[in-house]
Amino acid sequence: MGAKRTDFIATVIINLIVAAVVGILIFLLAYILIAGLPHVSWSFLTGTTDAFSGAGGIGVQLFNSFYLLVLTMLISIPISLGAGIYLAEYAKDNWRTSLIRSAIEVLSSLPSVVVGLFGFLLFVVKFKIGFSVISGAIALTFFNLPLLTRNIEESLSAVPRNQREAGLSLGLSKWKTEIGIILPVALPGIVTGIVLSAGRVFGEAAALIYTAGQSAPVTNFADWNPMDAASPLNPFRPAETLAVHIWKVNTEGLASNASQLSAAASAVLIIAVLLFNLGARVLGNFLYRRVTASK
């Protein structure tokens, strides 16, 4: 049977390809974890970095990464939700919409260096905000927006039309229909999208080097008033993230154990992304069940 044999061969080839891909993935993860994990300790996770050698812990950087991520998401989720709804619901199918879509996609494919430099010249220099969490968050928002917007639009459009008709035929406004009926159904897809973009944001360095800065001033973790200069929550302080830290240790680090430090930091970063992914997945499912009352 020719067809059957072809089928068999094709299946074998695909399995080989997958094996190769999985092999690469496992190698990468193993490489990072094996090189890094032995150097990870509690004091490494919570300690502060020695500013001159780059040695020491990464507590502040870890916090900065999460803080920046949260701030970025706080800014970008509402905007992309609004924009996604606009595209899914209000945008007519004409040249203007297609221009808007192109604009969004161009933004998403801009190299992050360029975004970073733009953020630098605009926020840091022009608006004199300086190297700060907020500058970094806005720069990250720039390239988070297109990803999230596209994802939200797609998730919303994937909800069957008859759900929309159901809402509209009851006299609900378009907005109410979209927010109360379509959005909950689209939620798992949206959460997955947020996870994916969160991963990218978490690992981004190029855009942050010039915006959030490369220094992690020691902060006072007992002071949670965002207005205080020493507070970790102060959005106007410079904030080196984990990814930037890895970059810096690798490029300028003077410590004799620089490579171990960066390996350890990389391992922590990967694990953080992993935990974050898992958490968001669980949350997505939970929300979905809550909202749709299924099971």
């Binding site: 069957p160 008859n162 759900q163 008709e165 159901a166 809402g167 509209l168 035929s169 009851l170 006299g171 609900l172 406004s173 109410k176 109360g180 009926i181 909950p184 159904v185 909202v291 749709t292 009352a293 299924s294 099971k295």
Partner: protein
Amino acid sequence: MLKQYSFEKTAVQTFAGNVSLAMRTENLQVFYGANHAMHDADLGFPKNQITALIGASGSGKSTYLRSLNRMNDGIATVTGKIWYHDVDINEPNVNIYEIRRHIGMVFQRPNPFAKSIRENIVYALKANGIKGKAELEERVETSLKGAALWDEVKDSLDKSALALSGGQQQRLCIARSIAMEPDVLLLDEPCSALDPISTVKVEETLLQLQKKYSIIIVTHNMQQAARVSSQCAFFHLGHVMEYTPTATMFSNPQIPATQDYISGSFG
């Protein structure tokens, strides 16, 4: 190829002066871009009766029905007048949300929200400002009873509506519509996705509901039209060919097109 029937020869009743009408259309025309999908429909729908719209696929039944509560807004261009309580609701400045509250709609494929059974009914009520817990509870019960679903679901109001069978889902959609206490209920082939048993249930429900509502139903199933409707409109290629009491249409169709369609030798 389809037989050619003259669109000049039609038989459309006008209820001159003796029946109270829930809605009426005058010169209703619908265009999908350049596609002229509905020509000059002049139909009146008596209060508290069931009117059936029949005709072959693509004849414009759904198009016409969806125009009645402005569900074609943004999809098609609808011209002509739609009278409802002496107001032409086809004017741009009417409040379409208000119209749809008064003119409910149920679709071909059951489309309950992905929420609990109770939430399905309560959601639109809340959105319209009805807050009282007691009132909401009461509306849930009366509407589910009205749609003949109460007994089957009263113990599982918090279960997902998606777990119901197709027929139950469709009755839930009817319940959801009537919870808004509309005047008119539009149904677009509500039984075509259902098995015969569910179909019978829905039909019984409709016969009950006509005491309170005026009902317009699109159906492919001529037996169904015969069973439930008081009058029947036959659509063909975007034209209303005949509009007569159901008994008349099935026993004594007035024009050749209807005769052929009823006897199944059409097309």
